[in-house]
């Protein structure tokens, strides 16, 4: 029912009461011999902020790419708002927003032009485009730089603009792949505030990936830990701390227990050089 406000579905959704906005069943993706996502079954509930953590190469981005219909699963299924990500990918695309790990704003355009382009892509009625863009800029505290080229933006401003882009069409569900990578603490907490406000104002369901345990603590209602393509633990941070068996456990301990290693030890050369590249691009 909830999703119907956006795109009246053809049938069947009326009888569907989504407690879980997103649901995967044995979702798997292989690249040649490597299984990047390995039989993952989990669910994200309506209006929650769900944090996906795991070492570099755990399969977080691959997971998001499948759910945003960019990548076809090798096997298994997933639904968003009741729509199958493979068979009803066009309907899924209408329900979701996505901020990739890389930079998706166009540096040659101004903030407003970027938003107007996205509004066009999402078929927002012409008369409403300008208004929506301005509202989104306002919401993300970017109104005073609306007509500046994105090239001159700071990393935090770019991220906020990208989130503005991804929410322009009021998606039911938002995927944010490492939304705060490369940001300073001030910019990071500003992005957090905006994510939470987005959820509170529009009831947007949010799935984000991160390497920062304090981000999970501050932002997420529930979390999932991925390791070598498998979802090894899902729950609230309190539940997962309890699951470690140590009453004084921190989320770092949770990570070590389930992912078997510290975040900083698991980073290979490829991941490091990629993370640095991303950080540089943002800066």
């Amino acid at each position: 029912m909830v999703c119907a406000s956006y795109n009246p579905p053809v049938d069947s959704v009326d009888s569907y009461e989504p407690l879980n906005l997103l649901e995967t069943k044995s979702l798997t993706r292989r690249f040649d011999v490597l299984t990047a996502v390995d039989h993952v079954s989990f669910a994200v509930r309506e209006s929650e902020v769900f944090g996906l953590v795991g070492p570099n190469g755990a399969g977080k981005s691959t997971m998001i790419k499948m759910m945003t219909t960019l990548l076809r699963p090798t096997s298994g299924t997933a639904t968003i708002c009741g729509y199958d990500i493979v068979k009803q990918s066009a309907s899924v695309r209408r329900q979701i927003g996505y901020v990739p790990q890389m930079v998706s704003a166009d540096g040659d355009l101004t903030a407003k032009e970027n938003l107007l382009l996205v509004a066009t892509l999402y078929d927002v009625p012409k008369a409403e485009r300008r208004e929506r863009a301005e509202e989104a800029l306002e919401f993300m505290n970017l109104a005073d730089v609306a007509d500046k080229r994105v090239r001159q933006f700071s990393g935090g401003m770019i991220r906020r603009l990208e989130i503005a882009q991804s929410m322009l069409h009021r998606p039911k569900m938002l995927f944010l792949d490492e939304p705060t990578v490369g940001l300073d603490p001030v910019a990071r907490s500003s992005v957090w505030d905006h994510i939470l406000e987005l959820r509170d104002r529009y009831q947007t369901t949010i799935l984000l990936t991160t390497h920062l345990m304090d981000e999970v603590e501050n932002l997420c209602d529930r979390m999932g830990v991925m390791h070598h393509g498998k979802m090894v633990a899902v729950g609230t941070s309190a539940e997962l701390k309890t699951a470690t068996g140590d009453p004084k456990a921190t989320l770092d301990d949770v990570f070590i227990k389930f992912a078997g290693e510290r975040i900083d030890e698991s980073s290979g050369f490829r991941a490091i050089s990629r993370a640095r590249r991303t950080a540089r691009r943002l800066g």
Binding site: L71, R94, I96, S104, D108, E113, L117, L121, D123
Partner: protein, 246 residues
């Protein structure tokens, strides 16, 4: 979709200028030398007149053929992903790119027309012919930019694309009627140039852009080949485009 590409074009006048230098060199140096030498028999048509449409088509080709590179660039950033998660049909995304290439082509035509005017090429200002020329430019640019996008979807990396782009452009140009009549070519080259859409674009341009230009093929055939190959290219590209993100 297309309107936004125009903004970028406006922002980047240096690029258009630098693209304009190449046709200028061809017409000034190659054109002058050849018309003095009378090495190429173009009938009663002065060689510069014969060559002007070919050079116009060439400059549009050289710009369009690197469109795939910008698609790879957009992939290496996250811009391609942003396009692909939107509900916009893939064919619309691809067609938008083709049309923006067409727009660039028209700006280049204005430049080549001016250049031709200076070199006193006998331009044909008949409005119907002008429109015909416009169509030839639009379709040619749309085809070659989409063709380039298809290559980009197959090779996926900037380095490989650059290599292939260089290797491809020259044969496309020389295996066409751009700077010499098809009749002058050896038979094997004639055969190839008959399969080259550039030949039909030049043919259409030659019969619309200049006074006394004669075409080798019926205009209907030129149009059909250009339109047909553009549509086929867009259909193929729309299928391959999502794969670029994987």
């Amino acid at each position: 979709m297309v309107g936004v590409e125009a903004t970028k074009l406006r922002r980047d006048p240096t690029e258009i200028l630098s693209r304009a230098i190449q046709p200028a060199l061809w017409m000034l140096v190659f054109g002058q030398v050849m018309s003095h030498a009378r090495a190429i028999n173009t009938g009663r048509l002065p060689y510069l007149d014969f060559m002007a449409p070919g050079i116009l088509a060439q400059s549009v080709l050289f710009t369009s053929i690197f469109y795939g590179l910008s698609a790879i660039w957009e992939k290496d950033l996250g811009i391609l992903h942003k396009y692909l998660v939107s509900p916009a049909p893939r064919s619309a995304l691809v067609a938008g790119k083709a049309l923006s290439a067409g727009m660039r082509g028209i700006i280049q035509s204005v430049f080549v027309y001016c250049l031709s005017l200076i070199l006193s090429v006998h331009l044909d200002w008949n409005p119907i012919h002008l429109v015909g020329g416009l169509v030839a430019i639009l379709l040619g640019a749309a085809f070659f930019s989409t063709f380039s996008l298809i290559i980009a979807c197959i090779v996926k990396s900037r380095e490989r694309f650059m290599g292939i782009g260089q290797v491809m452009t020259m044969p496309l140009f020389f295996a066409s009627n751009a700077i010499y009549p098809i009749k002058m070519m050896p038979p094997w080259l004639q055969a190839i140039s008959h399969m080259n859409p550039l030949t039909y674009q030049v043919d259409l341009l030659r019969s619309t852009m200049i006074v006394g230009g004669v075409n080798n093929f019926p205009i209907g055939l030129d149009l059909a080949v250009l339109l047909g190959s553009t549509v086929v290219a867009i259909v193929i590209a729309a299928r391959l485009y999502p794969g670029l993100a994987q």
